[in-house]
């Protein structure tokens, strides 16, 4: 029987659940605003706007908490990509997810105390957390205070361009969330990763790696 490793300290688990709930509210209210219709029976528009604005503001605070947490604890290191041989490692992980897993092969980058993310997770999380989310925060806050938006640039309406970036970013996060929820079922048991995000303890898969 393999041992367990304390992988997710309380601050990460609290941030993670807050982040997940806020993203869900933002996606639902955002879709409501994007597809608003007088005949619609979805969330009332002004309510959706308030939900979106309040959740967005709290998410920004939550992001600052995450950013500082990563800066001042060892957690940030998991997001740093080692570029040497990265594409090879990424390919290995993709091969595992598309073919290897069905052949009952062992995960090429098992999770343990030293490695929390496989290469695919690492690149996806880094892009979402350090590229897409900052775009969403900048455009979101700009839409909250539209006076700061450049009205027109090269014939393009500043408001429409800001809104476009915000919607595309929001869509990217929505797709990420969907795939993230599915890949979270890829543990030894489908509920393993979910349980780990509640208890903080994850099966030390790297033990298998050392006995190989």
């Amino acid at each position: 029987m393999s041992g367990k490793v304390y992988l997710y300290p309380i601050w990460i688990r609290l941030w993670h659940i807050t982040n997940a709930l806020l993203c869900l509210i933002l996606i639902i209210s955002g879709i409501n605003m994007h597809y608003a219709s007088p005949e619609g029976t979805r969330i009332r528009f002004d309510l959706a706007v308030s939900m979106h604005n309040i959740s967005g503001i709290i998410l920004t605070v939550s992001y600052v908490f995450f950013f500082l947490g990563n800066l001042f604890t060892g957690n940030g290191i998991h997001y740093v990509i080692q570029f040497k041989g990265f594409l090879k490692r990424l390919w290995k992980q993709m091969y595992y997810y598309t073919i290897g897993v069905f052949k009952k092969e062992e995960a090429p980058f098992p999770i343990g105390g030293a490695r929390k993310f496989n290469p695919l997770q690492q690149v996806t999380y880094a892009v979402i957390m350090y590229f897409i989310l900052p775009i969403l925060f900048i455009t979101g806050w700009a839409l909250l205070f539209p006076n700061i938006i450049i009205e027109e640039w090269l014939g393009i309406n500043g408001f429409a361009a800001t809104d476009f970036l915000h919607i595309v970013g929001g869509f990217a996060v929505s797709i990420f969330l969907l795939i993230h929820l599915y890949f979270a079922t890829m543990g030894k048991k489908p509920t393993d990763h979910y349980k780990a995000m509640i208890t903080g303890y994850h099966e030390d898969e790297s033990e298998h790696e050392s006995t190989h």
Partner: protein, 316 residues
């Protein structure tokens, strides 16, 4: 390569500055000498005349409503007109006869008739709509066209597509002339009853709305064949449902954005108008193409997950 880039950047800056400078040069104002006699008194707050018997120069304050802003006049749509084109020619003699005060004033449709202009203003429709509005039906208003459209400084903005913010500000200023309630007394004593912001506090951001849409968007009934709605409804009938404007089939497309959208579609095509227009409000312009692409991506993700799950179950 860097030098070329720097040169192009400088060139673009110089050209941009020159072009914008050219835009800002005011056109030469052409005045009409036939109006000079009128404006000698009516263009000033104080006017003087000589008593022919005593040769004494007498100075009087001009009644506020009879003062014409001459600068605004020579920039307005009626600038080519001579005063006596609309007012009696008898005003040419001084002092004016007292019975001239009873002279009936013209209204817009005495001169303006429906033309083939595209899109048509439809003066007949405007008259019909106006006669149904609170301004015409409520007792004691005594409103005429001039109550809102001062013929001495009026600039039509309905066919302006270059600066929507200006259209909104100009048209709203017409309403605020009477409805702001912020007369000098109110400003001094801060009368809360006249606070428009407080009355519109139910909007998520009243000031943002005031800057970006006209009062008539919510307070007037739209008629398709009339370019600018004139049927102002009682306040109880004002629109309070956000999605009336914030939706794909936005009411704004039939009012504020009507002319701009028609122009930009004919000039640039439907696709370009999506990103280049000033006609933007959340929820009003979801692009059908982007919606389709997002649905395809979402469908592929769901399908991929479904296939992966099925194979996982089979290979278990």
């Amino acid at each position: 390569m860097m030098k070329i880039k720097t040169y192009l950047l400088l060139l673009a800056l110089v050209l941009g500055t020159t072009l914008s400078a050219q835009d800002s040069i005011p056109a030469k104002v052409v005045t009409n000498p036939a109006n000079d006699l009128c404006f000698r008194c009516h263009g000033k707050r104080w006017y003087t005349y000589s008593n022919q018997d005593s040769t004494q120069v007498i100075k009087h304050k001009m009644f506020k409503d009879l003062i014409i802003d001459t600068v605004a006049y020579y920039h307005n749509n009626h600038k080519s007109l001579t005063c006596t084109d609309c007012h009696s020619t008898e005003y040419s003699s001084l002092p004016h006869k007292s019975d001239l005060k009873l002279e009936p004033l013209l209204i817009c449709t005495d001169c303006h008739t429906d033309t083939d202009d595209v899109p048509p203003i439809n003066f007949t429709g405007i008259t019909e709509e106006y006669n149904k509005s609170v301004h015409a039906t409520r007792k004691g208003t005594n409103a005429t066209c001039w109550s809102c459209h001062n013929p001495h400084n009026y600039n039509i903005t309905t066919r302006s597509k270059d600066n929507l913010a200006h259209v909104v500000a100009y048209d709203n200023s017409i309403c605020l002339e009477c409805h702001s309630g912020m007369g000098k007394f109110d400003i001094l004593y801060g009368d809360p009853k006249s606070n428009l912001i407080a009355k519109h506090q139910w909007l998520p951001d009243p000031i943002k709305h005031f800057k970006n849409v006209r009062c008539i968007e919510c307070h007037a009934e739209i008629r398709e064949d009339v370019l600018v709605a004139h049927n102002i409804r009682p306040k109880e009938e004002a629109i309070r449902k956000c999605v009336t404007c914030h939706s794909a089939d936005s009411r704004l497309k039939y009012s504020l954005y009507k002319y701009q959208l028609a122009q930009e579609r004919s000039e640039k095509g439907v696709l370009s108008s999506i990103i280049s227009t000033q006609t933007f409000a959340i929820g009003t312009n979801p692009s059908p193409l982007l919606n389709l692409i997002s649905l395809i991506i979402l469908g592929c993700a769901v399908l991929g997950i479904a296939i992966h799950t099925i194979i996982r179950i089979i290979k278990k």
